[in-house]
Amino acid sequence: MTTTTSALDVRGAYANYQNADVLHGIDLQVEQGMVTALLGANGAGKTTFLRCVLGLMAVHRGEMSAGSVRVLGQDVSRASAQKRIRAGLAVVPEGRRLFADLTIEQNLRIGASTRRDKETSEDVEKMLERFPALRRPKLQAGYLSGGEQQMLAIGRALMARPKILLLDEPSLGLAPLVVDGVFETIASLAADGIGILLVEQNAERALDASSQAVVLQVGKVVRSGASADLADDPVIQESYLGVAS
């Protein structure tokens, strides 16, 4: 076992909901400034894995029964979601999960909930600057278009000043041109030094955007390695990229 220098280091994660076992020993690392893609079909356990990383299994009457989660070397396996976010995590949830009846600004402020410093307002300004779609801070989030909402969800996560960003299906339901924008944003965040875990159904885009990839199938890792190698793997091509063998 190597010494852990990864930004996010998950080892041997087992998880279940009541009596249904969902994850069977998942290992996954995310390096700073790199994008790791987590691929798999519906029901493979991708979202459950993210819940394990964030410490939200109990909300769904489940638990991570074994394994460890380390954030920047700090063991957070038993910590609350709040402590994990404070340790350096942030998530852009599937379906964005914005607070639709709150304003853009309020959504961003809630993203900074775990921070104790006084620079939240400056960071709100920075987000409005960074994402032109958000320049109407008093607008209710529910009135934004899908792509704008995705940018707000990313901005809200960045308000926690994360070192590792988890993105759950960020391209889902968005027009191709908008998806381009999302992937550009992901690349620029990685360039800023943030480690990114990208959970995607769109395997082609995800492999293209990532350096490492892990493929889940019914709760087990069936492939992992450099994204470029996986993209050439005939099994992956057939199952996830729609390439006939």
Binding site: L54, L56, V59, A81, Q82, I85, R86, V91, P93, R97, L98, F99, A100, D101, L102, Q106, N107, R109, I110, G111, S113, T114, T120, R156, A157, A160
Partner: protein, 296 residues
Amino acid sequence: MKFEQLLLAGIVLGAIYGLIAMGFAIIYKATKIVHFAHGAMLPLGAYLVYTFAVRWDQPWVIALIGASAICAAINVLMQKVFARRMMGRPLFAAIMITFGFEILLRAGMNLIWKGKERPIGDPWGSSTVSLGGVTTPEASLWILGMAAVCVAAIFAFFRWSNLGVQMLGTASDQEAALMCGVPVQRTFAVAWAIAGVLAVVAGVSASLFPRTLGPELLALGMRAFPAAILGGLDSVGGAVVGGMIIGIVEVMVAGYLSESAIFGANFSAVSGYMIMIVVLMVRPYGLFGRKEVARV
């Protein structure tokens, strides 16, 4: 002149109802629980103020702060010990639990204060002021003042404080709030604590004017409940508006219709419920409520 007199009395009663309804609304908004013991917190708060101010001879401000602290603490305790376990359970079970709290509080008050009427010992006594020809007890102005301060404080809390915004976020999507690192349990506790303080202010106000402090204050919570429903159970602003409407209507009905042969003398007591029913037929989620609010 009678109209102005009644209007002022209605506004004062409406302010009291609004304070009570805000308590129902903030708890419902934050935790989706209808807190039926909220009404019992009114006499409790008032009895505590009496104990501090009259029995222990403390200044009124100290009495208010002391009673508020105790009622906030009792509410937080209820939230932590019982209500928290009821989250996500059937609404019916949660309602039954809060009824249980109500019985407990009532029994406790009977034990301590023997269910007697007490003088609340207000500093304004029976002095009156004249407002544009309408003579009113000075206390009624203080009630309006206290209500205005509470409303302003709560709006400022939701508008500017981090915890207030976090509370709104939690009310909108609890899991998303958790994913943002919002201290969700703290927002619950603070909502209940605020309702406890509101109950003290409302209970004291109701003991000043038009009633006296006694066990019949228990009924006032249920009189104010239509105000919360009318405004939309999850709308704190709607609670204030609903309170005003019900308060003014009740006083007007009592003033103009009490001699009517058709309605009879006590029609005012149900007039609030009548309005509530009519409004709910048109807008099932209240004047300012969100559409998905559950039926109670």
